[in-house]
């Protein structure tokens, strides 16, 4: 069913009690042409683009919990493509272009809001680095604009731009097309689009083993029985290492917990996504009015989907240093998501050294904004058995070859990216 003003009016007449389900919940078949593990945004997008772009519709998405119940529902909804290194810049810009048209593509309102993402700078060295990154972005055809302190003060009046602030703001790099997207809608929109093209979405179906014969994938063991397939894609984010281990692989990935928190909802006070690398903080206001904020990892390996208070204290301290007027707000909720932190801070999207096995993962902090491009390129790689130009740099082999894509130059410490 196509959603439109007419379907809305028609269903309003019956008090919205007769909307059809957005996707089926079929029992798994015995075999599929391709199976994707992980029913978050990345896995659902992979299945959607496999069906839409490549005509491969005999596909199952296996999800151990419920759709979008992992990091798709736990991120802070920010999308941007303000990267310096070419592979990252091209990849994330491709993703941002997909975001711009995604509501029309999916006939599902993902509420993409190009409200701008502003990275604050607090030192002369920060200014140089921001302008350099902005110039690199513009050379790659990505919008970037350096704002002075006065321009920032005029745009964001409740940001403390005074000279005696704890970390004085000297300027900032703005990406105007960056912004936010409603994260749940991304999972639901891709699920609905994939299902309409014949993809089976199977929830509460945990993969317990990967069967490999003569170096090639032949299927997966699940809590709902064995499912045969020769093409298996992993889109399991924080559990990438754990699931890859079922295929006997070790990855250059550590899983870490990253927390976020939201305040009680208030009237509109902040119309830009504001971040500061120096104080490790980012904030935006949701359409419901909550201030959504986050900062750094908790800095220890974790699969717990919850963190501890020191990181939250750090985030709130940074928030009040930048926005003193938020001091009376009460925090409503905190939560944690498991980040698949790679050793160079960039993702792994491509083939693994077992025939028929691919992955999209290693997202570090950046998985949500990558969702459409990750799914698109993962589907391309599965369908063609070969990477696209946009993901050929994001191989697993780059670590052995010395071709790491280390945006921050932090070295092989997973938690440092």
């Amino acid at each position: 069913m196509r959603y439109s003003i007419f379907s809305l009016v028609r269903n309003a007449a019956t008090f919205h009690e007769n909307w059809p389900l957005a996707w089926r919940s079929p029992a798994p078949k015995r075999s599929y042409d391709a199976v994707v593990i992980g029913g978050g945004g990345h896995g659902l997008a992979t299945a959607y683009y496999l069906a839409k772009e490549h005509g491969i519709t005999n596909v199952a998405v296996l999800e151990k919990g419920w759709l979008g119940g992992g990091n798709t529902g736990r991120n802070t909804t920010i999308v941007r493509s303000n990267y310096h290194l070419d592979p990252n810049a091209h990849f994330y810009e491709f993703s941002l272009k997909l975001w711009e048209g995604l509501s029309q593509e999916l006939n599902f309102n993902v509420m993409y809001s190009a409200r701008g993402v502003l990275n604050l700078v607090h030192s002369p060295a920060d200014i140089d680095a921001a302008i350099r990154r902005g110039n690199a972005m513009r050379l790659n055809g990505i919008d970037a604009e350096f704002l002075t302190r006065d321009q920032i003060a005029a745009r964001i009046p409740n940001l403390d731009c005074s000279a005696d602030a704890r970390f004085p703001i000297l300027g900032g790099l703005l990406q105007p097309r960056g912004g936010t997207v409603r994260h749940d809608a991304v999972a639901w929109g891709y699920a609905r689009g994939a299902d309409a093209r014949g993809v089976d979405i199977i929830q509460r179906c945990e993969v317990t083993g990967i069967r490999i014969e003569r170096g090639a994938v032949v299927g997966v063991d699940t809590t709902q029985g064995f499912i045969a397939t020769t093409r298996l894609g992993l889109a399991v984010a924080g559990h990438s290492g754990h699931v890859a281990a079922m295929a006997g692989l070790r990855l250059p990935i550590e899983s870490h917990v990253l927390q976020a928190l939201v305040s009680e909802p208030v009237k509109p006070v902040l119309d830009t996504v504001v971040t500061s690398g120096a104080v490790h903080f980012y904030i935006s206001q949701s359409d419901k009015g909550e201030l959504v904020m986050g900062g750094d990892l908790d800095f220890y390996n974790s699969y717990a989907q919850r963190g501890n208070l020191p990181s939250i204290e750090h985030v709130v301290t940074a928030c009040l240093a930048l926005f003193p007027s938020f001091g009376r707000l009460k925090m409503l909720r905190t939560w944690g998501g498991i980040m698949d932190m790679t050793m160079d801070g960039s993702p792994i999207i491509g083939k693994l050294p077992i025939k028929g096995l691919t992955m999209t993962g290693g997202w570090c902090y950046g998985g949500f904004k990558a969702t459409p491009a990750s799914g698109w390129l993962h589907a391309y790689t599965i369908a063609r058995d070969s990477p696209h130009a946009l993901n050929e740099a994001f191989t697993l082999e780059r670590f052995a070859q010395g071709r790491t894509i280390d945006e921050k130059g932090a070295g092989p410490y997973a938690w440092a990216h």
Partner: protein, 91 residues
């Protein structure tokens, strides 16, 4: 809040400590194979469960030690000085 047992100072608040990653990786010999170096520098078991890891009591005694902690629950299962494998082992 993690209450981390430093083998020298006793249990202290996590804010006194700095994380050092997987304690089971061993630096290979300088002439070891590229595969051994790849393993050491980049690849990790990343277990979902008990994890042996390095911590530095950076705002305390300044010593590194090994902590065993469950990555699913954050339960702390024990700590030993750097030169021992298990608690009670001779140095």
């Amino acid at each position: 809040m993690l209450l981390i047992p430093c083998p020298w100072c006793g249990s202290r608040n996590q804010v006194e400590f700095t994380y050092g990653g997987d304690a089971t990786v061993k630096r290979p010999a300088a002439d070891a194979s590229e595969a051994a170096w790849l393993d050491y520098v980049y690849l990790r078991d990343n277990p979902c469960g008990p994890h042996n890891e390095l911590w530095l009591h950076s705002a305390g005694c300044g010593c590194w030690f090994k902590l065993r902690r469950d990555t699913r629950t954050h339960d702390i299962l024990g700590s030993v000085p750097l030169d021992r494998e298990r608690s009670g082992d001779a140095p």
